[in-house]
């Protein structure tokens, strides 16, 4: 198992996006802050910009964030995992703590194959 820290904008914009290569596949990720739920939501898009899955709320220590919607179709060798790197690990991320004390990881299990 290998954890990769997904790139984040530390200036805390309400919306940001980036392109990344996860285990050989190119994905676009889009994160946007939802004021009502007071957390960021993310969407996964393919390299052409087609949405694969949208608006998954970022919550701490949730298993199968993407896998529960698509077993292996979207992220075949891993999943997104949100965990506290410092501070209180019982809290879910909010506008201030996301990308500061609580971060977003790509958990790769490609090594285990």
């Amino acid at each position: 198992m290998q954890l990769y820290n997904l790139p984040a904008e530390k200036q805390q914009p309400r919306s940001y996006s980036f392109s990344t290569n996860l285990d050989g596949r190119v994905y676009n990720f889009s994160f946007s802050y939802n004021k009502r739920s007071d957390t960021y939501h993310f969407s996964v898009l393919d390299f052409l910009g087609n949405t694969l899955i949208a608006n998954i709320p970022c919550l701490s220590y949730i298993d199968f964030m993407v896998t529960k919607y698509a077993m292996t179709e979207i992220l075949p060798f891993g999943d997104i995992y949100i965990a506290a790197t410092s501070g209180d690990e019982t809290q879910d991320p909010n506008f201030l703590t996301f990308n500061t004390t609580i971060e977003c990881f790509y958990m790769s299990i490609a090594d285990d194959l």
Partner: protein, 252 residues
């Protein structure tokens, strides 16, 4: 002695511009809202300001929507009050002969005589310089109405400009302009009645972050070193990875 034209040459739409501003702070002033919109960037250097030579009337109207719901007995229950409309109405007159205020170079240059003086110095707006002040006011109001230009408003009750709770300048957009031309007003003045409504702008913030590669066995120049979860919390992620392997049918 050379006269500093850039300092003293006023905004032709504003009789009380420049040095005499402080004396006329109680006359409502409209300035183009700073920002980028409609293909133009407005800042303090190029924002157009309009102020009438005299104000006939001003009116400020606030409205709120109070939601209420009927209950079994007694009066309705109110659960919310939401500010809705903030409307300003102004009737003002701009006169070609606005020299009567004061004997400063500003007001001289604002007048009909001034438009001749301006022509000599103002090459950029040489066409506009031949317009009388009332014609310029008409042209400006028409432009603002056509383009839906947001305006910042300074008034007697808030000399520093009307602002919202975050202390940002409030933006108003012209809802209605009426310009009656009657025998009382004469041919050398313009009387304008304007209704403005408070508007809010939606703000879109979006950041694009570059391309990152987390591919197995590949290293790219812009790769970010993965930050590890502290050892004290590593167990949780190990357990989560184990559950993920099981879920994806990978026995390990």
């Amino acid at each position: 002695m050379a006269i500093d034209i850039t300092e003293n040459l006023f905004n032709p739409l504003d009789s009380a511009s420049n040095q005499v501003y402080s004396k006329f702070s109680n006359i409502m002033k409209f300035t183009e809202y700073f920002g980028t919109y409609g293909g133009r960037t407005i800042n303090e250097k190029n924002a157009v300001t309009l102020r009438g030579d005299c104000t006939v009337s001003e009116n400020y109207s606030f409205a709120a929507n109070v939601t209420s719901h009927p209950v079994h007995k007694s009066t309705d229950i109110t659960d919310n009050a939401r500010p809705e409309d903030f409307i300003i109405n102004i009737t003002a007159i701009s006169s070609d002969a606005s020299m009567s205020y004061l004997d400063t170079i500003d007001s001289v240059a604002n007048s009909n005589v001034g438009s001749i003086i301006r022509t000599a110095f103002n090459d950029e707006d040489s066409l506009d310089a031949y317009l009388s002040k009332s014609q310029q006011v008409f042209k400006q109001l028409k432009f603002w109405w056509e383009k839906g230009t947001p305006l910042a408003v300074d008034c007697a009750y808030d000399v520093g400009g009307l602002r919202d709770v975050n202390y940002d300048a409030s933006a108003f957009i012209i809802q209605n302009v009426s310009i009656p031309r009657t025998s009382e007003i004469g041919s050398r003045a313009i009387k304008w009645n304007m209704t403005l409504k408070l508007v809010r702008f939606a703000r879109v913030e979006k950041e694009e972050i570059g391309l990152y590669s987390f591919s197995k066995g590949q290293k790219s120049s812009n790769q970010v070193d993965p930050k590890k979860i502290p050892n004290s919390k590593q167990d949780k992620s190990e357990e989560a990875a184990k559950r993920l392997r099981d879920r994806k049918g990978l026995q390990y």
